[in-house]
C-alpha cells in the first residue's frame, strides 16, 4: 500500500531520517517504534508530505508521491494526524469534521458566492456523515462545543474522526495514545481494531508498547534515523540489539 525507499531527511547536516525503507501492507496496522529522537515523527511527516524528503522515493498505491504536496497526498487518501493536539480550536467539533469532507460544492469561492442553495444538499449529506461518526465515537453530545474546550483524549478522537471524514485509504497516526486517559486509550484501541477490520491500512507511531503489541501486525523499530529491525513484537523482543536500543525492561 505504502512503500518508502531509501528516504532521507536532513536538517543542516543532522540526519533525522537516514535511508529508511519500509512497507505498510494493505489492511494491516504497522507500528513504528523507537526511542525519542529516533526520527519516527519526522519520517511520518515526510511520508505525509508535511515535510519534504531530502532524497528517496515514496510510492502510495502504485503512484510515486515523492514530490506531491501534502494537501494532494491527503486528497489521494494518505491522511495523517499529529503528535500534538491540532484541533481547529475556534470551530465546533462538528465543524472540525466537516472541514475535512471532500468534494463539497460550497468549498470554493465560486460555490460560496453562488449561495447556500447551491451547496446545501452537500452540506446536509455531510452533516449526516459527520454525525454518524460522532455517534460511533460517542461524541454526539459534544458536536456544538468548541474543539478547543475538549479534553486531550477527546481531541485525539476528533483528529481520528476528522481524518476518517476524508475517507482515507491509509492513516498515519502520530502517537494517538499520548497524553490520553487510560480509559480513552482503551476506546482508541477499540476503534483502531474496528477500522482495521473494515480494511483500513494504518501506520502508527506509538510509545505504548503494550498497545503496539496488541494492535500491530508488523512493527518497525527506528533508532538514530535508521530502521534497525522489523517483525512481530514477539520476534523483536528476541533480537538482542533491538532490546538494547529500545526494548529494555
Amino acid at each position: 500500500m505504502l512503500a518508502a525507499r531509501d528516504v532521507h531527511r536532513h536538517f543542516e547536516g543532522m540526519r533525522a531520517v537516514d535511508g529508511v525503507s519500509l512497507d505498510a501492507p494493505r489492511g494491516q496496522i504497522t507500528g513504528l517504534i523507537g526511542p525519542n529522537g529516533a526520527g519516527k515523527s519526522t519520517l511520518l511527516a515526510v511520508l505525509a508530505g508535511t515535510l519534504p524528503s531530502t532524497s528517496g522515493a515514496i510510492v502510495f498505491d502504485g503512484v510515486d508521491i515523492t514530490r506531491m504536496p501534502a494537501y494532494a497526498r491527503a486528497r489521494h487518501g494518505l491522511v495523517r494526524t499529529f503528535q500534538l493536539p491540532s484541533e481547529f480550536a475556534k470551530l465546533t467539533v462538528l465543524e472540525n469534521l466537516l472541514v475535512a469532507a471532500p468534494h463539497h460544492r460550497g468549498d470554493s469561492l465560486l460555490g460560496a458566492l453562488l449561495g447556500k442553495r447551491y451547496w446545501e444538499d452537500d452540506e446536509r449529506r455531510l452533516v449526516g456523515e459527520a454525525r454518524a461518526l460522532l455517534a460511533r465515537f460517542g461524541m454526539s453530545a459534544k458536536e456544538s462545543d468548541y474543539a478547543g474546550t475538549m479534553s486531550g483524549g477527546q481531541k485525539r478522537l476528533i483528529e481520528i474522526m476528522r481524518a476518517l471524514m476524508l475517507r482515507p485509504r491509509l492513516l498515519l497516526l502520530d502517537e494517538p495514545m499520548s497524553g490520553v486517559h487510560p480509559k480513552v486509550v482503551q476506546e482508541i484501541q477499540y476503534y483502531l481494531e474496528e477500522l482495521r477490520a473494515e480494511g483500513l491500512t494504518i501506520l502508527m507511531v506509538e510509545h505504548e508498547l503494550h498497545m503496539v503489541e496488541r494492535l500491530c501486525d508488523t512493527v518497525i523499530v527506528m533508532a538514530q534515523g535508521k530502521v534497525i529491525g522489523s517483525g512481530t513484537m514477539a520476534s523483536l523482543r528476541r533480537q538482542r540489539e533491538i532490546v538494547d536500543a529500545y526494548l529494555v525492561g
Binding site: 494532494a72 481547529f88 475556534k90 466537516l98 468549498d107 452537500d122 456544538s144 476524508l166
Partner: protein
C-alpha cells in the same frame, strides 16, 4: 446637521464599512495580517482617478499623471476594484507562499512604506507628494457636484456597493469555503493535512480583499476629488485593524460596528473638542497626535480585556444539534 455633512459622513461610513469587511475576510476569517491593506485602497483610488480624469495636459497641465482616460461611470469604480485584485496577485505570490504569519505581516508593512515612498518621490507617475486633484466623480459632468442632489446621488450609488460587499462577505463567511479559511487560520498544517491547499486559500481571499479594498478607494476618491500619499500612510491600516479588533474579528456585523465606532465615530468625536479649553489654546498638533495615541490604547485595551471584540465570532450550531449545548 446639514445634508452635505450627512452625505459626507455616510460616504465615509460606507467606504470604511467596505474596507473593514474586506480586512475582516483577510484578517478575521483567514488570519492574514495584511498590514499593507491601505495600499490596495490607494491603488483603487489612483486607478479610478486616472480612468475618470482627462489627460494631464488639460486644465493648464498643473499636475502630471499617467493615463487620463476620461471614462464614464462605472468604469472607474470597476477599474479601481480590478486594480486592487490585480495588485494582490504579485504581492500574495511573494508574501503568502513561503513566509510564516509574523514575517508576512512585517513584509506587508514594509511594502506599504515602500509603495508610499515610491509614489511620493516618482512625481511623473501620480504627481508625487502633492497628489492628484479635481478627480471627477460619477456623472459630475451632468450634475453639479456641489449641489445637494449630487450628494444624494453619491450616497445612492454607494449604498448598493455596501450591500453587495456585505452579501459577498456574508456568503464567504457562512459557507464551507469560509469554514476552510477559518480552519487554516486555526491550524494551517492540520488543514493542509486534510487536503486544503493553503496557498490557494490565502491567495483567493487576498485577491477578494484586494478587489474590495480597491472598490472602497475608488468610491472615496470620486467623492473627495483628491488623492495624495498623505491619504494612505501605513498608520491608516492600523485604524482599520483597530476597527476590526474592536468590532469583533471574523464577525461581519462586528466589522461594520467597528467601522462605525472607530474610523467614523472616533474621528468625528474629536471634531467636537473645542479649539480652546478654559482659555487655554492647545498646541496645533495635540489633537491629531492624541487621536493616534487613543487608537493605540484602544487596540491594546481590547486585546487585553476583550480580545474577541464587541461582537465575538459566532459559534455555528447546526439544525438538529443535541439540545442543552447552547453557549
Amino acid at each position: 446637521m446639514n445634508s452635505y455633512y450627512a452625505a459626507t459622513l455616510l460616504v465615509y461610513a460606507a467606504v470604511d464599512i467596505i474596507a473593514c469587511l474586506a480586512l475582516n475576510l483577510q484578517f478575521g476569517l483567514s488570519g492574514i495580517v495584511n498590514f499593507s491593506f491601505i495600499v490596495f485602497q490607494a491603488i483603487g483610488a489612483y486607478t479610478a482617478a486616472v480612468l475618470s480624469m482627462p489627460p494631464d495636459t488639460a486644465n493648464g497641465a498643473y499636475q502630471v499623471y499617467v493615463g487620463g482616460f476620461q471614462l464614464p461611470f462605472p468604469i472607474p469604480w470597476l477599474g479601481g476594484a480590478l486594480a486592487g485584485g490585480l495588485l494582490a496577485v504579485p504581492v500574495g505570490l511573494v508574501v503568502l507562499r513561503k513566509l510564516r504569519t509574523d514575517y508576512q505581516a512585517i513584509s506587508l508593512l514594509v511594502l506599504s512604506v515602500i509603495a508610499n515612498s515610491v509614489i511620493t518621490n516618482a512625481r511623473p507617475l501620480l504627481n508625487g507628494a502633492a497628489g492628484i486633484a479635481q478627480v471627477p466623480g460619477p456623472f459630475a459632468d451632468q450634475i453639479d457636484p456641489l449641489s445637494q442632489s449630487y450628494q444624494l446621488l453619491y450616497v445612492g450609488l454607494t449604498v448598493p456597493c455596501v450591500v453587495l460587499v456585505w452579501v459577498v462577505a456574508a456568503r464567504i463567511a457562512n459557507s464551507p469555503f469560509g469554514r476552510s479559511l477559518r480552519a487554516m487560520r486555526e491550524h494551517e498544517l492540520a488543514a493542509t493535512a486534510l487536503g486544503k491547499n493553503p496557498v490557494q486559500l490565502k491567495m483567493t481571499i487576498f485577491i477578494v480583499g484586494g478587489i474590495l479594498a480597491g472598490l472602497s478607494g475608488a468610491i472615496l476618491v470620486g467623492y473627495i476629488a483628491v488623492w495624495a500619499p498623505s491619504e494612505w500612510l501605513y498608520p491608516e491600516t492600523i485604524i482599520l485593524f483597530a476597527a476590526v479588533i474592536v468590532g469583533g474579528r471574523a464577525n461581519n456585523m462586528g466589522a461594520i460596528l467597528g467601522a462605525l465606532l472607530v474610523p467614523v465615530g472616533f474621528f468625528e468625536v474629536t471634531r467636537l473638542i473645542p479649539p480652546t479649553i478654559g482659555g487655554w489654546v492647545p498646541p496645533p498638533n495635540l489633537i491629531p497626535a492624541s487621536e493616534w495615541v487613543s487608537i493605540g490604547l484602544l487596540i491594546i485595551g481590547f486585546l487585553w480585556f476583550r480580545p474577541e471584540g464587541v461582537r465575538p465570532e459566532a459559534r455555528r450550531i447546526f439544525d438538529g444539534a443535541p439540545v442543552g449545548e447552547e453557549p
